[in-house]
Every structure is written in C-alpha cells, then in structure tokens.
Symmetry: C2
Subunit: 305 residues, 2 copies
C-alpha cells in the first residue's frame, strides 16, 4: 500500500484588480494531508481537525475532486484520505481549494504523474463547485502551480503562470463569517465602460509589474473601484487596515478572495511585520478575534513532505 | 540657427483587448518632420504634403503641442516646422499622434533634452485633444517611447513600457472615412461585469504574453467581445480580413485605434506577407482602395534622421 504526505498552501484570489482572474500561493498557512492508494474503487475520508467537515465523498470537496480523478483513470482505484485542515474554512484563503488541490496532486503522485497539471486543476474545480456553486480556478491554479497564476479563461481552462515577485504578504483573518454566495450576490451586474477601462488598465499594469518584479508598478496598480467598494462593507475595519498598512509602508492590498481575510504586500519582512502589528491592534480595537500570517509568496504549489 | 530632422512612427492603439490602455509603434509608415529653433516666440508651420492640414498653430496638432512646450520652457523660443505627412490622417494609425509627438521630441532635442519623456507625452496630448476631443496617450506614448506601451492611467499620466515582442505586423488601411467621434459615440456606456472580467482576463494575458514573448499566449488573448462587435460594423470586410488572416497563419489582430485600419500579428515575415496578399485581395473584391504595410514593431519612437 502506497502512502504519501503533502502540504497544500493557502491562496489569495483576485489580488485587488484581478477579480476572478488572478491568484497566488502563500508559504503558510498550509493544510496537511495523507493519501493512501487503494486497489478498489473506494473513498475513505477522515479529518484530524476540529472543523467537522463532511466525510461522505460526494459532500466533501477533496472527495468530489478525487471522484472526478478516479473516473478519468484507466482502472478502478480508491484512496484513503486523512486531512488535517490548518486553513480555516470560510477564511477567504482558499481552504476548499487546498483540500481539493491537495487531494488530486497527492493522488497523481501515487499514480506516477498520470495526469497533467491542467487536468488536476479541472478535477479540483469540482471541489470549488461543491463549496461555492461555481467552477472557478483562481485559488486552485496557484495552489497547484504555485506562485502567481493568471486564469485567462475558466471554460476552456487557460492558466498562465506568472513570475513570482519577491514580496512579503501579511494576511489578517478577522473571525467573522462571510458567505461566498452573499459576497457574490451583492456584486453589480453591470458596470460603466469607463470604470471597466480603468480596471483593466490596472490589472494589465499589475501583470506588467509582476513580470518586471517592479514594486512601484505593483503598488500603483493595486486599485479596485468595482468590487472592493461593495465587498468591503462586509468586513469591519477594512478601510482602517488598508490605511494603516500603507502608512507603515505596505505597497497595497485588499480583500483576499471574497473575504473576510485581508492581505497586504510589502517589500521587506520588517515592513510586513509592522503591517501585522497594525492589523492585530485594529481588530483588538474592534474587539474581533483575528489571526494573522506573515509569509512569502510560495513558488511551489502542493508539495510532498 | 539649429535645425533637426526626425521621423515619427505610425502607431496602433488598443491592440484588440487593450482598449484605451495599450499601443505600439510600427517601423513604417513614418512621418517626416524638420524643426528649426527660433529665438522669438513664433510658430511657423508648413506642409510638404497634399493633405491640406491647417497651418495656424492653434488649429494644428503639432502646433498646439509645441505651444504647450513653449509655455513650459524657461525663456521665449519659437520654431519653424516643416511637416511631410506620410501617415494618412484618419487612417487609425496615429497620424495626429505622429505630428504632435514628432514635433515635441524634435523640439526637445533642439533644447538639449530639457524635458522628460513623460512631459513630452503631456504636451503632445494637447494635439490629441485638438484632433479627437480627448486627451488620450495610447498613440502618443508608443510614438515617443517606442515598442509596446501600457497607459495605466491618463490622469495622472502613468506609462509602463513593455517588452517588444518579436512579431511582424501587417496593416491594411481601406480608404474609407471613420470619424473618431462617431466610433466613440457608438460604444456601450455600460457593460456586464461578466464580459468585463473576460476582457480583463484577456488584456492581462496579452501583457503576460508580451512580457514572456510567447506567441501562443498572445494569440489566445487577442479577443474582444465589447468594442470590436460594435466598431467592426463601420469597416466593410473586417470579418473576412480576420478570418482569412488567421487561415494563412496570423496570430490574431483587429481594429487599429478606432479604424478603419486593421492590423494582424504574425510570427514570420513570410506569414505577414501572406496576410498582406489576402488583405489586398479582399479589398479588391470589395472594390475599395486599400493601402497595406508589413512592418516589425518599432523598438524606437520618434528618431533623428
């Protein structure tokens, strides 16, 4: 019986102006997962964490991703999966993506890389569909490819890995609940062409800044007048976090995925830690429990441990 | 009396999915211009071409650009300007931008580079305002910087020069008239968020493709479901040009600026010439006179000759 242990990184989707098309992997937090290859078509899921997630394959994000992979494999196989979830569900840090991506990458390693990365992303997207109702790849792709990924299109799937800028990321996760479905429901259906042009100027500049590893261009492009003004209302303290992060030297940042987590880019670890200190203080002021992380962008996606 | 001769390149704005934010310089056609520095605040404009453009400074695009530059200079100066326009006005190939940019770059060379490139773009934008009613930089910036430029924002002006992909450009200019004002009036005021996301995925991918000099990414990203469907109706033969260009191997392309010119990218000169042949044939079928160009992307903007 072959067994493998992997770690699956948290991911930040959207990156402010890259709504629905950009995502990046973090060095931590990372989920831990252990997969064992079985010779019969069976899926056993166990959790070592306290989150009480479903263990029925069809109701578990790692489960549905693995079912899709098993269906595409040449002969009947199964897996025993033991998940130790470190990335809190509902944090906006790609918790469901880490489960789904971690499971299929681990399975593929047990199958001697039978599937391509692109196929793995497609299997894992079934997990996102289960978790949020839509098959999006902006967390899955960076979780599997690592670094910063551009998802030009979900259907057909077109993933463009970008360079990994040498930046530090500070994340704060205020412990409040935002439903992805709610965060999506409040978005405008229509936007002005003028605002759209401004927005695609920024996302184009962000990709240029990342490609040129140019912090100034990155800082100037981290703007969003379309999604952020609507969604930030769901996150107490958002404006204060942004303002004070910029004051202590952050390049910029915004909502991670659909929130409630907020991320900020900095050029040095020292600045990133100052940002963290501000974040902790702000949520103490708000009397909201908050967890923070300081991390580099992870060049690697799901990795064997 | 100091005199200088320069050439100012034609430019292609928008680049399909980069509406209002991307532009590139071509190796030809290029305007020719001769400037002489005068010691008094006087502006003499002469034309060596047949287009009958105004020679009053305030009504001439090179004139208003130079007036802005003269106003910003430390002491009273003037210029004599002789323009030989090669880029036909109203072609959609940045004819007015070439006049305005050519004039201010030449003037700045006579003034021993007193002004920065960014300042020159701002002076030249007065020419665009005169020509089209709006101060945009998507032709001016590449005309001055060369290569492919991203204009993240017009106000404040933020120009990001990108890498110059090793591609050939075929341009056809069907000799019909499209007013920039008309081409702008037919644009939608509002677009769906869904279409906008698709669009910024493409423009982000185009910048990634250019940065990585990757023809496949460039080809996949040259899509536009917002502007092109509306504007192409003003250009007879547009769909046929696009279809047959792709058939003979072009990567893709679309309307140059607000038209009527159409441009296509190819990876080799041979393919670019096949595309040219198709374009010529199509407008012969339509019985519309057409001028074609095969060119590389020019790394250089306005240059001394």
């Amino acid at each position: 019986m072959k067994t493998i242990k992997i770690k699956a990184p948290a991911t930040v989707a959207n990156l402010v102006c890259g709504f629905d098309v950009l995502g990046m992997a973090l060095e931590h937090p990372q989920d831990e997962m252990e997969l064992t290859l079985l010779n019969k078509p069976q899926l056993i899921i166990q959790h070592k964490d306290k989150y009480g997630l479903p263990t029925t394959a069809e109701k578990n994000v790692a489960g549905v991703a693995l079912l899709a992979l098993m269906k595409a494999y040449e002969k009947p196989i199964g897996f025993k999966v033991v998940i130790n979830k470190i990335i809190k569900p509902g944090s906006g840090l790609g918790s469901s993506a880490a489960s789904a991506a971690g499971a299929v990458v681990a399975a593929n390693k047990l199958l001697k890389n039978y599937f391509t990365k692109n196929e793995l992303v497609q299997f894992a997207m079934f997990g996102e569909e289960l978790a949020s109702g839509s098959k999006h790849a902006d967390n899955i792709a960076p979780c599997i490819y690592g670094g910063v990924c551009l998802i030009r299109s979900n259907h057909p799937l077109d993933i463009i890995p970008l360079k990994t800028p040498k930046l530090f990321v500070t994340v704060v996760h205020p412990q409040i609940e935002i439903k992805t479905s709610e965060a999506r429901a409040i978005l405008p259906k229509e936007i002005s062409l003028k605002n759209a042009v401004k927005h695609w100027g920024n996302v184009a500049a962000l990709v240029a800044g990342i490609s040129q590893n140019n912090p100034e261009i990155i800082a100037n492009s981290l703007r969003d007048d379309i999604i952020e003004p609507v969604r930030k209302k769901l996150i107490p303290g958002f404006d204060r976090v942004k303002k004070r992060s910029l004051t202590v030297g952050a390049l910029g940042g915004g909502i991670s995925g659909s929130g409630p987590s907020i991320f900020m880019f900095s050029t040095t670890k020292k600045i990133a830690e100052k940002v963290e200190k501000e974040m902790i203080e702000i949520y103490r002021e708000f009397n909201i429990e908050a967890k923070t992380y300081v991390s580099k962008i992870s060049k690697q996606g799901v990795s064997e441990v």
